[in-house]
Symmetry: C2
Subunit: 213 residues, 2 copies
DNA sequence: AGCAATATCTACATGATTGTCAATAGCGAC
DNA sequence: GTCGCTATTGACAATCATGTAGATATTGCT
Protein backbone atom coordinates (compact mmCIF):
# COMPACT_ATOMS: atom_id res chain seq x y z
CA UNK A 1 0.00 0.00 0.00
CA UNK A 2 2.06 2.89 -1.25
CA UNK A 3 1.30 6.39 -0.16
CA UNK A 4 -0.60 5.65 3.02
CA UNK A 5 1.76 3.69 5.19
CA UNK A 6 0.07 4.66 8.45
CA UNK A 7 1.32 1.63 10.24
CA UNK A 8 1.55 3.37 13.60
CA UNK A 9 2.39 6.70 12.03
CA UNK A 10 0.80 10.02 12.96
CA UNK A 11 -2.63 9.71 14.62
CA UNK A 12 -5.47 11.37 12.73
CA UNK A 13 -6.13 14.98 13.64
CA UNK A 14 -8.88 15.65 16.12
CA UNK A 15 -11.67 18.11 15.75
CA UNK A 16 -12.72 19.57 19.03
CA UNK A 17 -16.21 20.99 19.19
CA UNK A 18 -17.83 22.86 22.02
CA UNK A 19 -19.84 20.62 24.30
CA UNK A 20 -23.05 22.11 22.97
CA UNK A 21 -22.09 21.61 19.33
CA UNK A 22 -21.09 18.04 19.99
CA UNK A 23 -24.26 17.28 21.92
CA UNK A 24 -26.39 18.80 19.20
CA UNK A 25 -24.65 16.91 16.39
CA UNK A 26 -24.99 13.65 18.31
CA UNK A 27 -28.65 14.31 19.09
CA UNK A 28 -29.31 15.06 15.43
CA UNK A 29 -27.77 11.79 14.35
CA UNK A 30 -29.61 9.86 17.04
CA UNK A 31 -32.89 11.48 16.07
CA UNK A 32 -32.44 10.42 12.45
CA UNK A 33 -32.09 6.85 13.65
CA UNK A 34 -35.04 7.29 15.98
CA UNK A 35 -37.25 8.39 13.10
CA UNK A 36 -35.99 5.68 10.80
CA UNK A 37 -35.82 2.65 13.08
CA UNK A 38 -37.10 3.58 16.53
CA UNK A 39 -35.49 4.21 19.91
CA UNK A 40 -34.39 0.60 20.36
CA UNK A 41 -32.28 0.88 17.20
CA UNK A 42 -30.12 3.70 18.50
CA UNK A 43 -26.63 2.25 18.69
CA UNK A 44 -23.74 4.14 20.20
CA UNK A 45 -21.27 3.02 17.58
CA UNK A 46 -23.51 3.87 14.66
CA UNK A 47 -24.48 7.27 16.02
CA UNK A 48 -20.81 7.96 16.70
CA UNK A 49 -19.87 6.98 13.17
CA UNK A 50 -22.59 9.22 11.74
CA UNK A 51 -21.19 12.17 13.62
CA UNK A 52 -17.59 11.22 12.93
CA UNK A 53 -16.44 10.56 16.46
CA UNK A 54 -15.66 7.48 18.51
CA UNK A 55 -18.35 5.99 20.68
CA UNK A 56 -16.75 6.85 24.04
CA UNK A 57 -17.18 10.47 23.04
CA UNK A 58 -20.93 9.92 22.93
CA UNK A 59 -20.77 8.33 26.35
CA UNK A 60 -18.75 11.26 27.62
CA UNK A 61 -21.52 13.67 26.64
CA UNK A 62 -24.53 11.64 27.68
CA UNK A 63 -23.27 9.35 30.43
CA UNK A 64 -24.84 6.22 29.05
CA UNK A 65 -26.89 4.92 26.17
CA UNK A 66 -30.01 5.42 28.24
CA UNK A 67 -28.97 9.01 28.82
CA UNK A 68 -28.66 9.56 25.09
CA UNK A 69 -32.00 7.94 24.35
CA UNK A 70 -33.75 9.94 27.04
CA UNK A 71 -32.23 13.15 25.73
CA UNK A 72 -33.25 12.51 22.14
CA UNK A 73 -36.72 11.35 23.16
CA UNK A 74 -37.20 14.42 25.30
CA UNK A 75 -36.03 16.73 22.56
CA UNK A 76 -38.16 15.05 19.90
CA UNK A 77 -41.32 15.15 22.00
CA UNK A 78 -40.73 18.78 22.95
CA UNK A 79 -40.20 19.58 19.30
CA UNK A 80 -43.39 17.86 18.19
CA UNK A 81 -45.39 19.53 20.92
CA UNK A 82 -43.97 22.96 20.10
CA UNK A 83 -44.68 22.62 16.40
CA UNK A 84 -48.21 21.42 17.03
CA UNK A 85 -48.95 24.25 19.42
CA UNK A 86 -47.55 26.71 16.90
CA UNK A 87 -49.67 25.13 14.18
CA UNK A 88 -52.81 25.50 16.25
CA UNK A 89 -51.93 29.03 17.25
CA UNK A 90 -51.09 30.23 13.75
CA UNK A 91 -54.31 28.96 12.24
CA UNK A 92 -56.54 30.51 14.87
CA UNK A 93 -58.85 33.29 13.72
CA UNK A 94 -58.30 32.42 10.11
CA UNK A 95 -61.44 32.46 7.95
CA UNK A 96 -61.41 28.80 6.96
CA UNK A 97 -60.15 27.62 10.30
CA UNK A 98 -60.54 23.90 9.80
CA UNK A 99 -58.67 23.62 6.50
CA UNK A 100 -55.76 25.76 7.62
CA UNK A 101 -55.47 23.92 10.91
CA UNK A 102 -55.45 20.61 9.11
CA UNK A 103 -52.71 21.67 6.75
CA UNK A 104 -50.49 23.14 9.43
CA UNK A 105 -50.94 20.17 11.74
CA UNK A 106 -50.13 17.83 8.91
CA UNK A 107 -47.07 19.88 8.08
CA UNK A 108 -45.92 19.66 11.68
CA UNK A 109 -46.39 15.91 11.72
CA UNK A 110 -44.81 15.21 8.35
CA UNK A 111 -41.85 17.51 8.73
CA UNK A 112 -38.65 15.71 9.72
CA UNK A 113 -40.62 12.54 10.31
CA UNK A 114 -42.21 13.76 13.49
CA UNK A 115 -45.18 11.49 13.09
CA UNK A 116 -42.92 8.47 12.73
CA UNK A 117 -40.91 9.46 15.78
CA UNK A 118 -44.05 10.04 17.79
CA UNK A 119 -45.53 6.67 16.89
CA UNK A 120 -42.25 4.90 17.58
CA UNK A 121 -42.22 6.47 21.02
CA UNK A 122 -45.85 5.66 21.72
CA UNK A 123 -45.36 2.03 20.76
CA UNK A 124 -42.11 1.79 22.68
CA UNK A 125 -43.71 3.15 25.81
CA UNK A 126 -41.68 6.33 25.97
CA UNK A 127 -44.61 8.67 25.46
CA UNK A 128 -46.78 7.22 28.18
CA UNK A 129 -46.94 10.29 30.35
CA UNK A 130 -46.59 12.91 27.66
CA UNK A 131 -49.38 15.25 26.77
CA UNK A 132 -47.99 16.04 23.36
CA UNK A 133 -51.40 16.31 21.80
CA UNK A 134 -53.67 18.45 23.92
CA UNK A 135 -56.72 17.49 21.96
CA UNK A 136 -58.92 18.29 24.91
CA UNK A 137 -57.63 21.86 25.18
CA UNK A 138 -57.96 22.48 21.47
CA UNK A 139 -61.45 21.05 21.51
CA UNK A 140 -62.48 23.37 24.31
CA UNK A 141 -61.26 26.40 22.39
CA UNK A 142 -63.03 25.24 19.25
CA UNK A 143 -66.19 24.59 21.24
CA UNK A 144 -66.21 28.11 22.60
CA UNK A 145 -65.71 29.59 19.13
CA UNK A 146 -68.50 27.38 17.84
CA UNK A 147 -70.82 28.55 20.56
CA UNK A 148 -70.20 32.19 19.80
CA UNK A 149 -70.72 31.67 16.09
CA UNK A 150 -74.07 30.02 16.80
CA UNK A 151 -75.33 32.54 19.31
CA UNK A 152 -79.11 32.42 19.24
CA UNK A 153 -79.37 30.25 16.17
CA UNK A 154 -79.92 26.53 16.18
CA UNK A 155 -79.41 24.62 19.38
CA UNK A 156 -75.79 24.02 20.34
CA UNK A 157 -74.40 20.49 19.99
CA UNK A 158 -72.89 18.93 23.11
CA UNK A 159 -69.18 19.22 23.85
CA UNK A 160 -68.76 15.60 22.92
CA UNK A 161 -69.50 16.43 19.33
CA UNK A 162 -66.89 19.16 19.14
CA UNK A 163 -64.35 17.06 20.97
CA UNK A 164 -64.72 14.12 18.61
CA UNK A 165 -64.71 16.45 15.64
CA UNK A 166 -61.28 17.66 16.69
CA UNK A 167 -60.06 14.21 17.67
CA UNK A 168 -60.99 12.61 14.37
CA UNK A 169 -58.58 14.51 12.11
CA UNK A 170 -55.84 14.20 14.71
CA UNK A 171 -56.11 10.43 14.65
CA UNK A 172 -56.47 10.34 10.88
CA UNK A 173 -53.45 12.54 10.18
CA UNK A 174 -51.28 10.49 12.49
CA UNK A 175 -52.03 7.25 10.69
CA UNK A 176 -51.93 8.94 7.33
CA UNK A 177 -48.35 10.09 7.80
CA UNK A 178 -47.05 6.57 8.15
CA UNK A 179 -49.59 4.21 6.65
CA UNK A 180 -51.06 6.28 3.87
CA UNK A 181 -49.11 4.44 1.24
CA UNK A 182 -50.42 1.10 2.43
CA UNK A 183 -54.01 2.22 2.23
CA UNK A 184 -53.94 3.39 -1.33
CA UNK A 185 -53.12 7.02 -0.62
CA UNK A 186 -49.69 7.32 -2.14
CA UNK A 187 -46.98 9.74 -1.21
CA UNK A 188 -47.59 11.76 -4.33
CA UNK A 189 -49.04 14.99 -3.01
CA UNK A 190 -50.69 15.93 -6.29
CA UNK A 191 -52.20 12.53 -7.15
CA UNK A 192 -55.95 12.35 -7.85
CA UNK A 193 -56.67 10.30 -4.73
CA UNK A 194 -53.55 11.51 -2.94
CA UNK A 195 -53.01 12.90 0.54
CA UNK A 196 -53.57 16.53 -0.44
CA UNK A 197 -56.99 15.75 -1.87
CA UNK A 198 -57.77 13.77 1.25
CA UNK A 199 -56.83 16.57 3.59
CA UNK A 200 -58.89 19.03 1.56
CA UNK A 201 -61.87 16.66 1.67
CA UNK A 202 -61.44 16.11 5.38
CA UNK A 203 -61.17 19.83 5.97
CA UNK A 204 -64.47 20.40 4.15
CA UNK A 205 -66.14 17.60 6.08
CA UNK A 206 -65.03 18.98 9.43
CA UNK A 207 -65.90 22.52 8.49
CA UNK A 208 -69.32 21.49 7.24
CA UNK A 209 -70.00 19.50 10.37
CA UNK A 210 -68.95 22.28 12.72
CA UNK A 211 -71.02 24.87 10.89
CA UNK A 212 -74.23 23.04 10.05
CA UNK A 213 -73.92 19.84 12.08
CA UNK B 1 -28.52 -27.68 49.78
CA UNK B 2 -30.37 -30.68 51.13
CA UNK B 3 -32.88 -32.43 48.97
CA UNK B 4 -31.81 -31.08 45.59
CA UNK B 5 -28.22 -32.11 45.18
CA UNK B 6 -28.37 -32.09 41.38
CA UNK B 7 -24.71 -31.47 41.02
CA UNK B 8 -24.42 -33.43 37.77
CA UNK B 9 -27.23 -35.78 38.68
CA UNK B 10 -30.10 -36.81 36.39
CA UNK B 11 -30.80 -34.34 33.57
CA UNK B 12 -34.30 -32.84 33.55
CA UNK B 13 -36.91 -34.78 31.60
CA UNK B 14 -37.63 -33.67 28.08
CA UNK B 15 -41.00 -33.00 26.59
CA UNK B 16 -41.14 -33.85 22.94
CA UNK B 17 -43.83 -32.12 20.89
CA UNK B 18 -44.72 -32.65 17.27
CA UNK B 19 -42.95 -30.24 14.95
CA UNK B 20 -46.21 -28.42 14.33
CA UNK B 21 -47.02 -28.05 18.01
CA UNK B 22 -43.54 -26.77 18.74
CA UNK B 23 -43.62 -24.31 15.85
CA UNK B 24 -47.02 -23.03 16.91
CA UNK B 25 -46.03 -22.58 20.54
CA UNK B 26 -42.87 -20.73 19.49
CA UNK B 27 -44.76 -18.53 17.06
CA UNK B 28 -47.31 -17.69 19.76
CA UNK B 29 -44.60 -16.60 22.15
CA UNK B 30 -42.80 -14.63 19.46
CA UNK B 31 -46.02 -12.91 18.47
CA UNK B 32 -46.64 -11.81 22.05
CA UNK B 33 -43.24 -10.15 22.02
CA UNK B 34 -43.95 -8.68 18.59
CA UNK B 35 -47.14 -7.04 19.83
CA UNK B 36 -45.53 -5.82 23.01
CA UNK B 37 -42.14 -4.59 21.82
CA UNK B 38 -41.90 -4.96 18.06
CA UNK B 39 -40.08 -7.30 15.71
CA UNK B 40 -36.64 -6.03 16.65
CA UNK B 41 -37.25 -7.09 20.25
CA UNK B 42 -37.76 -10.75 19.43
CA UNK B 43 -34.91 -12.57 21.17
CA UNK B 44 -34.27 -16.24 20.68
CA UNK B 45 -33.44 -16.86 24.31
CA UNK B 46 -36.48 -15.04 25.65
CA UNK B 47 -38.87 -16.69 23.23
CA UNK B 48 -37.33 -20.04 24.10
CA UNK B 49 -37.74 -19.38 27.81
CA UNK B 50 -41.38 -18.38 27.31
CA UNK B 51 -42.07 -21.67 25.60
CA UNK B 52 -39.96 -23.66 28.03
CA UNK B 53 -37.31 -24.91 25.63
CA UNK B 54 -33.71 -24.06 24.92
CA UNK B 55 -32.87 -21.60 22.22
CA UNK B 56 -31.24 -24.10 19.83
CA UNK B 57 -34.64 -25.72 19.62
CA UNK B 58 -36.03 -22.53 18.20
CA UNK B 59 -33.21 -22.40 15.69
CA UNK B 60 -33.88 -26.01 14.79
CA UNK B 61 -37.46 -25.19 13.82
CA UNK B 62 -36.89 -21.88 12.08
CA UNK B 63 -33.32 -22.03 10.82
CA UNK B 64 -32.34 -18.61 12.04
CA UNK B 65 -33.65 -15.64 13.95
CA UNK B 66 -34.58 -14.02 10.66
CA UNK B 67 -36.53 -17.13 9.76
CA UNK B 68 -38.48 -16.90 13.00
CA UNK B 69 -39.19 -13.22 12.55
CA UNK B 70 -40.33 -13.70 8.97
CA UNK B 71 -42.60 -16.54 10.00
CA UNK B 72 -44.24 -14.62 12.81
CA UNK B 73 -44.57 -11.49 10.68
CA UNK B 74 -46.15 -13.47 7.89
CA UNK B 75 -48.57 -15.18 10.24
CA UNK B 76 -49.52 -11.95 11.97
CA UNK B 77 -50.18 -10.07 8.75
CA UNK B 78 -52.20 -12.96 7.35
CA UNK B 79 -54.20 -13.04 10.54
CA UNK B 80 -54.93 -9.32 10.51
CA UNK B 81 -55.94 -9.44 6.88
CA UNK B 82 -58.22 -12.43 7.42
CA UNK B 83 -59.94 -10.86 10.40
CA UNK B 84 -60.45 -7.59 8.58
CA UNK B 85 -61.90 -9.30 5.53
CA UNK B 86 -64.18 -11.30 7.77
CA UNK B 87 -65.23 -8.12 9.56
CA UNK B 88 -66.11 -6.44 6.29
CA UNK B 89 -67.91 -9.50 5.00
CA UNK B 90 -69.97 -10.10 8.13
CA UNK B 91 -71.23 -6.53 8.31
CA UNK B 92 -72.33 -6.38 4.69
CA UNK B 93 -76.06 -6.11 4.04
CA UNK B 94 -76.73 -5.18 7.64
CA UNK B 95 -79.24 -2.34 8.12
CA UNK B 96 -76.89 0.10 9.82
CA UNK B 97 -73.91 -0.88 7.74
CA UNK B 98 -71.52 1.82 8.86
CA UNK B 99 -71.87 1.33 12.60
CA UNK B 100 -71.58 -2.44 12.43
CA UNK B 101 -68.59 -2.27 10.11
CA UNK B 102 -66.89 0.15 12.44
CA UNK B 103 -67.41 -2.04 15.46
CA UNK B 104 -66.25 -5.21 13.78
CA UNK B 105 -63.20 -3.58 12.25
CA UNK B 106 -62.31 -2.11 15.61
CA UNK B 107 -62.73 -5.52 17.20
CA UNK B 108 -60.44 -7.06 14.64
CA UNK B 109 -57.81 -4.41 15.27
CA UNK B 110 -58.01 -4.44 19.05
CA UNK B 111 -58.18 -8.19 19.49
CA UNK B 112 -54.84 -9.70 20.45
CA UNK B 113 -53.13 -6.42 19.79
CA UNK B 114 -53.39 -6.66 16.05
CA UNK B 115 -53.29 -2.93 15.62
CA UNK B 116 -50.08 -2.70 17.63
CA UNK B 117 -48.50 -5.52 15.65
CA UNK B 118 -49.55 -3.94 12.38
CA UNK B 119 -48.12 -0.55 13.27
CA UNK B 120 -44.89 -2.10 14.55
CA UNK B 121 -44.52 -3.85 11.21
CA UNK B 122 -45.36 -0.77 9.18
CA UNK B 123 -42.80 1.32 11.05
CA UNK B 124 -40.19 -1.43 10.91
CA UNK B 125 -40.58 -1.76 7.17
CA UNK B 126 -41.93 -5.29 7.20
CA UNK B 127 -45.33 -4.40 5.79
CA UNK B 128 -44.04 -2.47 2.81
CA UNK B 129 -45.51 -4.69 0.14
CA UNK B 130 -48.50 -5.96 2.04
CA UNK B 131 -52.02 -5.10 1.02
CA UNK B 132 -53.47 -5.86 4.40
CA UNK B 133 -56.01 -3.11 4.18
CA UNK B 134 -57.77 -3.20 0.86
CA UNK B 135 -59.40 0.12 1.43
CA UNK B 136 -59.78 0.61 -2.29
CA UNK B 137 -61.72 -2.60 -2.77
CA UNK B 138 -64.01 -1.90 0.17
CA UNK B 139 -64.59 1.61 -1.10
CA UNK B 140 -65.60 0.31 -4.52
CA UNK B 141 -68.15 -2.03 -2.99
CA UNK B 142 -69.53 0.73 -0.78
CA UNK B 143 -69.68 3.06 -3.76
CA UNK B 144 -71.73 0.61 -5.75
CA UNK B 145 -74.16 0.12 -2.85
CA UNK B 146 -74.41 3.86 -2.45
CA UNK B 147 -75.23 4.29 -6.13
CA UNK B 148 -78.02 1.75 -6.00
CA UNK B 149 -79.50 3.30 -2.90
CA UNK B 150 -79.55 6.68 -4.62
CA UNK B 151 -80.97 5.52 -7.92
CA UNK B 152 -82.75 8.47 -9.51
CA UNK B 153 -82.60 10.68 -6.48
CA UNK B 154 -80.01 13.37 -5.87
CA UNK B 155 -76.92 13.46 -8.00
CA UNK B 156 -74.30 10.88 -7.12
CA UNK B 157 -71.10 12.08 -5.38
CA UNK B 158 -67.81 11.19 -7.07
CA UNK B 159 -65.90 8.04 -6.14
CA UNK B 160 -63.36 10.15 -4.33
CA UNK B 161 -65.95 11.04 -1.74
CA UNK B 162 -66.84 7.42 -1.02
CA UNK B 163 -63.21 6.39 -1.00
CA UNK B 164 -62.22 8.99 1.53
CA UNK B 165 -65.29 8.23 3.58
CA UNK B 166 -64.07 4.65 3.92
CA UNK B 167 -60.45 5.64 4.41
CA UNK B 168 -61.16 8.06 7.21
CA UNK B 169 -62.43 5.59 9.83
CA UNK B 170 -59.74 3.11 8.86
CA UNK B 171 -57.04 5.65 9.66
CA UNK B 172 -58.82 6.83 12.77
CA UNK B 173 -59.34 3.35 14.21
CA UNK B 174 -55.71 2.45 13.65
CA UNK B 175 -54.44 5.41 15.62
CA UNK B 176 -57.17 5.08 18.18
CA UNK B 177 -56.12 1.56 19.15
CA UNK B 178 -52.66 2.65 20.20
CA UNK B 179 -52.76 6.37 20.88
CA UNK B 180 -56.28 6.86 22.18
CA UNK B 181 -55.12 7.13 25.74
CA UNK B 182 -52.68 9.90 24.88
CA UNK B 183 -55.36 11.96 23.20
CA UNK B 184 -57.79 11.97 26.05
CA UNK B 185 -59.82 8.98 24.98
CA UNK B 186 -59.03 6.55 27.75
CA UNK B 187 -59.14 2.79 27.62
CA UNK B 188 -62.35 2.74 29.59
CA UNK B 189 -64.90 1.54 27.06
CA UNK B 190 -67.86 2.96 28.95
CA UNK B 191 -66.42 6.38 29.80
CA UNK B 192 -68.40 9.48 28.77
CA UNK B 193 -65.80 10.57 26.21
CA UNK B 194 -64.43 7.06 25.77
CA UNK B 195 -63.67 5.01 22.68
CA UNK B 196 -67.11 3.43 22.48
CA UNK B 197 -68.82 6.80 22.35
CA UNK B 198 -66.30 7.91 19.76
CA UNK B 199 -66.94 4.94 17.52
CA UNK B 200 -70.67 5.44 17.79
CA UNK B 201 -70.29 9.12 16.94
CA UNK B 202 -68.00 8.30 14.01
CA UNK B 203 -70.43 5.67 12.79
CA UNK B 204 -73.27 8.21 12.76
CA UNK B 205 -71.09 10.77 10.99
CA UNK B 206 -70.11 8.32 8.26
CA UNK B 207 -73.63 7.02 7.89
CA UNK B 208 -75.05 10.51 7.68
CA UNK B 209 -72.48 11.55 5.11
CA UNK B 210 -73.05 8.50 2.92
CA UNK B 211 -76.83 8.89 3.01
CA UNK B 212 -77.36 12.61 2.70
CA UNK B 213 -73.86 13.86 1.82
C1' DA C 1 4.23 30.94 25.82
C1' DG C 2 2.43 28.34 29.48
C1' DC C 3 -1.40 26.24 31.83
C1' DA C 4 -5.82 24.33 33.12
C1' DA C 5 -9.94 22.27 31.51
C1' DT C 6 -11.97 18.90 28.92
C1' DA C 7 -13.24 16.92 24.41
C1' DT C 8 -11.46 13.08 22.21
C1' DC C 9 -9.07 8.87 21.32
C1' DT C 10 -7.20 3.83 21.63
C1' DA C 11 -7.42 -0.36 24.04
C1' DC C 12 -9.63 -3.32 26.83
C1' DA C 13 -13.36 -5.57 29.74
C1' DT C 14 -17.90 -7.46 30.07
C1' DG C 15 -22.24 -9.19 29.04
C1' DA C 16 -25.78 -10.28 25.68
C1' DT C 17 -27.15 -12.62 21.45
C1' DT C 18 -26.92 -15.49 17.53
C1' DG C 19 -25.34 -19.55 15.67
C1' DT C 20 -22.79 -24.41 15.47
C1' DC C 21 -22.12 -29.22 16.84
C1' DA C 22 -22.19 -33.47 18.67
C1' DA C 23 -24.74 -36.14 21.91
C1' DT C 24 -29.12 -37.55 23.98
C1' DA C 25 -33.75 -39.03 24.47
C1' DG C 26 -38.68 -39.33 23.39
C1' DC C 27 -42.02 -41.38 20.23
C1' DG C 28 -43.96 -44.00 16.54
C1' DA C 29 -43.37 -48.09 13.42
C1' DC C 30 -42.27 -52.75 12.87
C1' DG D 1 -39.06 -54.89 22.63
C1' DT D 2 -36.00 -52.61 19.59
C1' DC D 3 -34.96 -49.49 15.99
C1' DG D 4 -34.91 -45.27 13.36
C1' DC D 5 -36.17 -40.60 13.07
C1' DT D 6 -35.76 -36.19 14.89
C1' DA D 7 -36.97 -32.93 18.62
C1' DT D 8 -34.20 -31.46 22.20
C1' DT D 9 -30.20 -30.19 24.81
C1' DG D 10 -25.62 -28.42 26.92
C1' DA D 11 -21.31 -26.63 25.64
C1' DC D 12 -18.86 -23.81 22.91
C1' DA D 13 -17.64 -20.13 19.32
C1' DA D 14 -18.12 -15.65 17.19
C1' DT D 15 -19.88 -11.25 17.02
C1' DC D 16 -21.77 -7.15 18.71
C1' DA D 17 -22.98 -3.48 22.05
C1' DT D 18 -22.18 -1.02 26.17
C1' DG D 19 -19.20 0.68 29.35
C1' DT D 20 -14.35 1.76 31.69
C1' DA D 21 -9.60 3.58 32.09
C1' DG D 22 -5.87 6.04 30.99
C1' DA D 23 -3.49 8.76 27.66
C1' DT D 24 -3.59 12.68 24.45
C1' DA D 25 -4.64 16.71 22.00
C1' DT D 26 -7.19 21.06 21.39
C1' DT D 27 -8.93 25.22 23.00
C1' DG D 28 -9.42 29.36 25.88
C1' DC D 29 -7.34 32.11 29.28
C1' DT D 30 -3.68 34.59 31.59
Amino acid sequence: MPGKTNHKGAPPPRRRRTALEARTAILDAAERRLVESGPAAIRLQEVAKDVGVSHPTVLHHFGSREGLVEAVVHRALDSVQAELLEAVRSSRDSPNEAEVLLESVFDALARRGHARAFLWLVLSGYASDVEALRVRAVAEAVHEARRQRRAGKKRMPPFEDTYFTVLLPALALLSLSIAGGLMGVGDDESAPLGPRRFRAWLGRLIHEHLEHG
